[in-house]
């Protein structure tokens, strides 16, 4: 009964951690970039927001397939099979939820006064130390927003996991798929159980987000 929920939860947690590690440097780069290619990068990152999940799922399905170059390469050299596997879901989720991590953090960096970074550099503080000890602590609300949105968005993922997960119980059958399955087989009670848990969880997450952001804002400004 709890298996699909736990699967959803661990998928979201792992995705969020990976995206946090990728997202902070990427968002920082973007916030500082004056490149004329910046709109191209930003469009690519934002693409999953408007792309139908089935489209993304379809191309990942093609890419992961052992019949094609990328899937074959992984299978032959690393013995990794991404199609219909939990690892495949993680990679798909990272791509799918990327904008939800990047956007708030990038906006957070852009809202900081540029002289904060400049001041740190003139004081002899290294770029790395400036990022970790000065810039990041001052965008806590943005970080939290990125984490929460990414987590919630990954829990709610349906189209992509449907296309590349294969709905295998205990491996890729996450809660959103389980709801669909239970409705298909007329088990409305089970569907209701999954739905209620997700509903409560979503509300709780957003509620905590607003509470914490309010607290931090009053502290910083």
């Amino acid at each position: 009964m709890w298996e699909p929920l736990l699967l959803s939860f661990s998928l979201s947690l792992i995705t969020t951690v990976i995206l946090l590690l990728i997202g902070v440097p990427l968002a920082y780069r973007l916030s500082q970039s004056k490149s004329r290619w910046k709109p191209v990068y930003e469009s690519l990152i934002s693409l999953p927001m408007i792309l139908p999940p089935s489209v993304l799922g379809f191309y990942l399905l093609i890419a992961f397939s052992p019949n094609n170059f990328f899937g074959k390469f992984l299978q032959e050299y690393f013995d990794i099979r991404l199609l219909f596997s939990f690892e495949g879901l993680i990679i798909a989720s990272v791509i799918y939820s990327l904008p939800f991590m990047i956007h708030p953090i990038q906006a957070g960096f852009q809202n900081l006064s540029p002289s904060l970074k400049d001041a740190a550099y003139t004081l002899g503080i290294s770029p790395r130390k400036t990022l970790l000890h000065i810039l990041l602590p001052n965008i806590k609300p943005a970080l939290l927003t990125g984490i929460v949105l990414t987590f919630a968005h990954t829990v709610g993922e349906f189209g992509v996991v449907m296309m590349i997960g294969g709905n295998i119980p205990g491996v890729t059958k996450v809660a959103s798929l389980a709801i669909y399955d239970e409705v298909e087989s007329m088990n409305y009670d089970a569907a209701n159980f999954y739905s209620l848990v997700l509903l409560a969880l979503s509300f709780l997450i957003l509620f905590l987000l607003f509470v914490f952001n309010k607290k931090w804002k009053s502290k910083i400004y």
Binding site: D118, Y121, T122, I125
Partner: protein, 290 residues
């Protein structure tokens, strides 16, 4: 001696502009830069600090090359202190932490104590910087800029957002600090009295170039007029009253009404920067009680 030769193409609101600077500053001088906004003053300071990269030129500090065609020291490696217009204090730290964070050798806490003492911040050491007044924040920014004991102190309109009394007090502190740490200081300012009090040399910039350079006396006194009292101000309004005109002139925070003749009024228009000169009488000067 700081030898500065820099040029950079800037895209300003008034169109493209070539910032072209050739400047020598002897050590331990206090130099003020003034000029219209958009003249390139802040960009010049940022190029000295290494935050903005010049297109070409060189910056040499004594024997050390900070910038030329094949060297470009990072801001971290230049011996500078920079006080930004918005102070740029680290909001996640208290006053003492703002200073201590700069220390590379954590044992060397004496300098932090000394600086807190000099800037009368000792009592506020544990206070969050977000709770300080403008003047207090300014002093933290100044103290922090001195922690790594720079040779060159760069101040970008450090006192512009403070009230008159606080300005006066902090000007005293600036002189004290400039002398105590034997700094070479470059300050951007729009306040003539401030420039007068502090500077050895004044530089006037316009449209990316240095158009005048000299002592405050040389720059601010119009030597063609041999007046005993000279006040500069801005003409706010001009109104006719019978045969004479009344000119309302704002100098600093003081509004003055001056009676002028029709011939004088003809040469003036509202908004002009004007000089009030008194030749015939000795003015009375008395202590001002506010």
């Amino acid at each position: 001696m700081f030898e500065i030769q820099l040029s950079k193409k800037l895209h300003s609101a008034q169109g493209d502009m070539l910032l072209d600077i050739d400047l020598k500053i002897p050590e331990k001088q206090f130099v003020s830069i003034y000029g219209k906004s958009g003249a390139g003053k802040t960009t010049l300071l940022k190029m000295l600090a290494g935050i903005v990269q010049p297109d070409k030129g060189s910056i040499v500090s004594g024997q050390e090359i900070w910038f030329n065609h094949n060297t470009n020291l990072s801001p971290q490696k230049r011996k500078i202190g920079f006080v930004f217009q918005d102070y740029a204090l680290f909001p996640n730290m208290n006053v003492r932490e703002n200073l201590e964070f700069v220390l590379t050798d954590k044992k060397n806490k004496n300098i932090v104590d000394e600086l807190l003492e000099i800037t009368s911040l000792t009592g506020l050491a544990q206070t969050s910087v977000t709770q300080l007044s403008g003047g207090q924040q300014q002093r933290v920014a100044l103290a922090r800029a001195l922690v790594k004991q720079p040779e060159l102190l760069l101040l970008d309109e450090p006192l512009s957002s403070l009230d008159h009394e606080m300005r006066w007090k902090l000007q005293d502190e600036l002189i004290k600090i400039h002398k105590h740490f034997q700094l070479t200081t470059i300050m951007i300012s729009h306040d003539t009295s401030e420039i007068y009090r502090l500077s050895d040399t004044v530089i006037k910039m316009d449209f990316g170039k240095i158009i005048q350079q000299g002592s405050p006396d040389e720059l601010f006194h119009n030597n063609k007029v041999s007046g005993k009292v000279q006040i500069t101000g801005q003409l706010i309004s001009l109104s006719k009253n019978d045969v004479v005109y009344i000119a309302k002139i704002l100098s600093g925070n003081n509004l003055m009404n001056v009676i002028i003749t029709a011939e004088e009024a003809e040469k003036l228009s509202v908004g002009d920067t004007v000089l009030i000169v008194s030749k015939a009488f000795n003015p009375t000067v008395m202590k001002y009680n506010s």
